[in-house]
Symmetry: C2
Subunit: 344 residues, 2 copies
DNA sequence: TTGTACGCGTTATCAG
DNA sequence: CTGATAACGCGTACAA
């Protein structure tokens, strides 16, 4: 015989449930469910009664129960190298803001540029059965790929379009961006160009920019690019470090492409301090178009990407997939823009 | 009679469940549960067998089901004004990194400095039955307070300790920080001081700093502080805007306290451009000690807070509460530090 | 150490 | 338009 005692031998957590609301309003639990999920099949009158009951009892739906019963989670995971980068933070913010009206929460994973951490994070996040996973870049371990593909979640890779996505992708061509910078630097007469960025194996996007740069340099028949690898994640002081390494290893260098604006800005400030004339003696180009890039003297030549547009687009692609939109795009290439200012 | 057909008239989602693993391994579902949750009451031999089954079937536990059954969610919510601020981003990152080893996910809410948005976010987040909620500041609407208190979640308020927390708090005294800046500026001979920050009603932490500044100014018997209110969220260009407003409304101003370093940095760059000598003609003080603060010329005098330590501490306080640690602290005041550099 | 029975709070399904 | 019933996948409690 089934237990019909609501309060007796139950494990009740003591919180207000749909059943409580239903009793109070004199309807069935199912009707409460319909009201909560905004189903149209409810009379205005009953709806009002139920809403009053909800207010009176301060009922708060239980998302875990809804998830379990409906097999759908209202959660999206965003996995980025680090939230310390303003670019990634801006992307994430945009994803959150786009998804919030849909009552979809965003869970963040920081990989610290480590593939092992990415694996661990993906594995653990999948337990939440997210509606989608937004990754950074197109380079992931075989395990991450298979984990994601077998789970069947929607996957969106961001920040890069030079390659084949697991599922969907939105970003820009880092290779082309690097090539553009190369053309600019060569065009303005640079003879010896250096690139400062993270380890090639860890940041494949920066690596693509480097390769694009190399292509332009080769076309201009200039000597090979000096590549300075710094440990990720990089910060402003790495800009000074990078500058030092370049000037030590190749004193004749007359142009540096930094893989992030923070470093480029720090390098400009350091050059100003040391009396190195930018861009006359040393041209400097950054990446990201941070806020201060336009304000510093000399102002920083850089590449503008659109982290927030990327985040919003990624979120919308996810929504389209969830809503089973027919002609939804599967790969979106955003434009980047070479912003020429005073430093190069 | 109960339905015993596992695959027939079930709503089966087609995914691998504990029961599948149990059958495969020839044990009961409960034993699988024990293995997954690392219970010690399992023979090494059975454990291995179960683990093989898990591998073979690629079983991924369902967090929603676990949450529902155990009435506990492994989720913590962090609500901040905006992820665009590097300080908040750093705090959040720290929370995530501290909680990740415990398999607790972090959900972020952006209020954009709006109390209504905060209400909506809290309301909707509570459906996930988070283990804790981390808020920014001590000022919240009555609805947010009651919502939180009635739900019984652990609440941690950050970034401010000048007031009474709902539950727990970790931060520093913005008032004292402002006072310290005031003492410094007065001490170095400023006669007319200005403060540039967000609307007093929206950013009560900046408001506290302003009040602290005023106290020091009053003690020094100087004329009242000019307060320039900018629209939140503020960015670097607001630094120039603030500078302009100050010089227009009170041209005799010889010291400005900006409520964030980004603005202060932009103001210094602008002064350099205009030939305004910092600090001789105009002393400038920031808040936050951003990376570039030490690198700019003149280097920026500012207040160093510790967003990452704050995030980590908040997370640890939450863990302590969850683990029912007896003597757990309920209010932690971190030190801030006035970093005197070249600009003031 | 392992297994059995049942409930967690909601939605899907179908009958009325 | 509303209600009854049976899952959803797992942990708790207790028995063996």
């Amino acid at each position: 015989m089934k237990t019909k005692n609501p309060q007796k031998e139950s494990r009740s957590t003591g919180t207000v449930t749909m059943l409580d609301v239903a009793e109070y309003a004199g309807v069935s639990a199912q009707t409460v469910s319909r009201v909560v999920s905004n189903s149209s099949l409810v009379t205005d009158k009953t709806r009002r009664r139920v809403e009053e009951a909800i207010q009176a009892l301060r009922y708060i739906p239980n998302e875990a129960a809804r998830s379990l019963a409906s097999a759908s989670s209202r959660v999206v995971a965003v996995i980025i190298p680090t939230l310390s980068s303003t670019a990634f933070a801006a992307e994430v913010k945009s994803v959150i803001d786009t998804l919030e009206p849909h009552k979809i929460s965003v869970i963040i994973g920081n990989t610290e540029y480590s593939q092992e951490r990415e694996e661990a994070i993906v594995q653990s996040l999948l337990e939440r059965r997210p509606m989608g996973v937004i990754l950074t870049g197109l380079q992931h371990s075989a395990k991450v790929r298979s984990l994601l593909q077998e789970s069947g979640v929607a996957v969106i890779e961001t920040w890069d379009t030079d390659g084949e996505p697991i599922d969907m992708a939105v970003g820009f061509s880092n290779f082309t961006a690097g090539y553009d910078v190369g053309k600019l630097l060569c065009g303005r007469g640079a003879k010896q160009i250096a690139f400062v960025g993270g380890a090639s194996t860890q940041d494949s996007r920066a690596q693509s920019r480097y390769l694009g740069l190399c292509k332009a340099v080769k076309e201009a028949k200039l000597p090979a690019v000096l590549r300075v690898e710094l440990q990720l994640p990089m910060n402003a002081s790495d800009g000074v470090r990078g500058l030092d390494e370049v000037l030590r290893d190749a004193p004749m260098t007359d142009a540096i492409f930094f893989s992030a604006d923070t470093m480029a800005l720090a390098a400009i400030l350091e050059c100003n301090r040391r009396g190195i004339k930018v861009p006359e003696q040393l041209a400097i180009c950054g990446f990201g178009d941070y806020e201060l890039a336009a304000m510093i003297t000399p102002s920083l030549t850089t590449v503008r990407t659109k982290p927030d547009e990327m985040g919003a687009t990624a979120a919308q692609m996810l929504l389209a997939r969830i809503n089973e939109v027919e002609d939804a795009a599967t790969k979106i290439v955003l434009t980047h823009q070479l912003v020429r200012r005073g430093s190069a």
